[in-house]
């Protein structure tokens, strides 16, 4: 029986589950929308995995994404890793020569600088989400275009329109003005893609040395318009890996594999875990003035984990 390793990336917009084999080849991939219900979506993903594959030999699990701790509690992960390291590991596995990784997700955008196969610098967007997927989502909705069509439209533009990209709110009013002037939709979309790229480069990529090979990954890499704008702006070729949308999960799986091998066992609870009932309860502790919000995760009636307190009195 072949050996497999599971990677889970619970992000703000999407939850991804992937399975790799011993050679890090992808054999299963699910890209699901998180929709604010991470536990249900993780269960759904595991169920789909079980339906398609049955009980395979899953020997290691890695979790990443902003919901990585939650995912780890639910499925039993061998390693819990931040998104930056996971993305870098997956990118290096895809192309060991990579020097720059551009990753744009739902709420985060990151740049990772790699030299000689190690991460030497990185940056993430600060409080502003103007250069991320949720911003694009919102603008596509406003223009009444499906997000999957959005990027292709930009490619049809001959003459891009300058859109203010520094702030999502200003970009929106600028777009409305340009629409009222009579610019066509393709040009406005192209302008928006360029604005997002400019924002990314001046905000996240500020002061970084961006040299090729450049990998572009994360959900937004599906957008051909953005990719084209990056290539124009950087005057360089930008590579979008085949599994750009689940690179974080792939990285987590690779790390999970390594960890499980070195410890000699896996914490994975098995694909049947989707049959369990998971409940979340929260209480506000009134023990002191910190008024911590304590979260409790239950599997059927067993408390799996409790966290959120500052003092450690509730932690489990």
């Amino acid at each position: 029986m072949d050996n497999y390793y599971l990677g889970i990336d619970v992000g703000s917009v999407s939850t991804n589950l992937i399975l790799i084999d011993e050679d890090n080849e992808l054999v299963f991939k699910r890209y699901l929308r998180t929709q604010g219900k991470p536990i249900d979506i993780i269960k759904e993903g595991i169920k789909e995995l079980s339906d398609e594959f049955g009980a395979k030999n899953i020997l290691g699990v890695g979790a990443t994404g902003s919901g990585r701790y939650l995912a780890s509690i639910i499925v039993g992960a061998d390693i819990v890793k931040n998104e930056i390291t996971s993305h870098a590991v997956a990118a290096l596995d895809y192309n060991s020569e990579v020097k720059t990784i551009i990753e744009i997700g739902g709420q985060d955008s990151k740049i990772i600088i790699v030299r000689d196969g190690i991460v030497v610098d990185f940056a993430m967007n600060t409080v502003c989400a103007a250069g991320t997927g949720s911003f694009l989502d919102r603008q596509a909705l406003r223009l009444g275009i499906d997000i999957s069509e959005f990027g292709n439209k930009a490619l049809d533009s001959n003459n891009d329109v300058r859109i203010a990209g520094r702030c999502a709110v200003f970009a929106e009013s600028d777009m409305i003005h340009k629409q009222q002037l009579g610019h066509n939709q393709e040009d406005i979309i192209k302008g928006l893609c360029s604005a997002l790229v400019r924002n990314y480069l001046s905000n996240v990529g500020k002061g970084k040395e961006i040299t090729s090979p450049i990998l572009f990954q994360g959900g937004v890499a599906a957008n051909k318009g953005i990719k084209a704008s990056f290539e124009e702006e950087l005057n360089n070729n930008v590579i979008v890996p085949k599994n750009f949308d689940v690179m974080g999960a792939i990285g987590a799986a690779i790390l999970g594999k390594k960890k499980a091998k070195s410890q000699g066992y896996t914490n994975f609870k098995g694909v049947d875990l989707y049959k369990n009932n998971y409940g979340v309860g929260s209480i506000e502790c009134s023990g002191c003035s910190n008024i911590c919000e304590i979260l409790e995760i239950k599997e059927d009636n067993k408390v799996l984990a409790r966290y959120g307190d500052k003092c450690g009195k509730w932690s489990l």
Binding site: K81, I84, V120
Partner: protein, 319 residues
């Protein structure tokens, strides 16, 4: 006891508390310090303070609010400068005025101005305070000497307290310089407990205060223009010194959102760090209490440092 003096645990408290303690204790006043920052203090601070202020100033408002019904006076000196030709942040200068206009029903606020580099100014200020508290001249001058005799730096005490947690944890070779204002570095609630998170990760923490004063002076004088803020001289000078002497592996700068001083210092320091190939990460703190984004950056940074170090070891064994 003559009465209770409230000392809000924020801003200059982290540098000057022992001096104040020496002075007021000698005059036979009871000192009440607000507790460590907690969520209630933060919430009240955000509610009472003007919107544009930085988080430490908002938190300071919360501390004042906590104290206002429990004491007879609140001590919020206007500390204009600590060194000649250098000044404090405008928000420290305006702190007593901001507080008086934002928080109602305050007990009397002691808001005497200090130009702490001038002996005569310090003496005059303490005299004024003593007189307003109806103390006689001889006890005031005794208290004044007591204040100036207080040699120990409060920051050293705070550092020792935090570092005592790491006794049983063996530290690795990873030396990280933690930069920022003392009122950010030592307020564990404000900075989401970063020091303990670093200690748990076996990091050897280096503080700006660990650098000798003469090095701070020497290196800050290398700047083309004299530093306007005292706080900046220490932050930039200590960073330059440690970078130059290669005593640190990386830098984490804890900045407050909206801090004008930080925006200048981070830029100056990251340019220098980049020249010497020392990774610097700026973590901006604001009112958010969700720690996920903060932890992700911290974990990624530590991963990167470990990765880099491993690689260096690997290379050196080849040579």
């Amino acid at each position: 006891m003559k009465g209770k003096i409230g000392i809000p645990r924020g801003m200059m408290y982290y540098e000057l508390y022992p001096e104040w303690e020496g002075y007021f204790r000698s005059l036979n006043f009871d000192l009440i310090t607000s507790p460590r920052t907690n969520k209630e203090i933060l919430d009240i601070g955000i509610f009472t303070c003007v919107d544009e202020a930085c988080l430490p100033v908002k938190i300071f408002h919360g501390h004042v609010d906590y104290l206002k019904d429990k004491v007879d006076y609140i001590f919020i000196p206007k500390i204009t400068s600590l060194c000649k030709g250098e000044y404090n942040c405008p928000k420290i200068l305006g702190l007593p005025d901001m507080i008086k206009h934002s928080i109602g029903n305050l007990p009397p606020v002691i808001d005497t101005e200090f130009q702490s580099y001038k002996r005569s100014s310090i003496k005059r200020a303490y005299n004024e305070i003593g007189k307003s508290l109806e103390c006689n001249s001889s006890s005031i001058s005794k208290a004044y000497r007591k204040a100036l005799d207080t040699k120990d730096k409060y920051i050293d005490r705070l550092e020792a307290e935090i570092l005592s947690n790491r006794k049983d944890i063996e530290s690795t070779k990873l030396n990280l310089l933690i930069l920022g204002h003392p009122y950010v570095i030592f307020d564990e609630f404000l900075n989401m407990g970063i020091l303990n998170k670093l200690i748990d990760n076996k990091v050897n923490i280096v503080f700006p205060e660990d650098v000798e004063e003469k090095d701070v002076l020497y290196y800050s004088n290398l700047l083309p223009k004299r530093m306007f803020w005292t706080e900046g001289r220490r932050i930039v000078g200590s960073a330059f010194s440690l970078i130059d002497k290669q005593k640190i592996d990386g830098i984490i700068y804890l900045s407050s959102f909206g801090c004008g001083l930080d925006s200048v210092f981070t830029y100056i320091i990251s340019r220098k760090a980049k020249e010497r190939n020392i990774p610097i990460m700026e973590l901006t703190l604001d009112e958010q209490t969700g720690e996920a984004g903060f932890n992700t950056r911290l974990e990624a940074y530590l991963d990167m440092m470990k990765w880099r170090n491993k690689n260096e070891n690997y290379l050196s064994s080849l040579r």
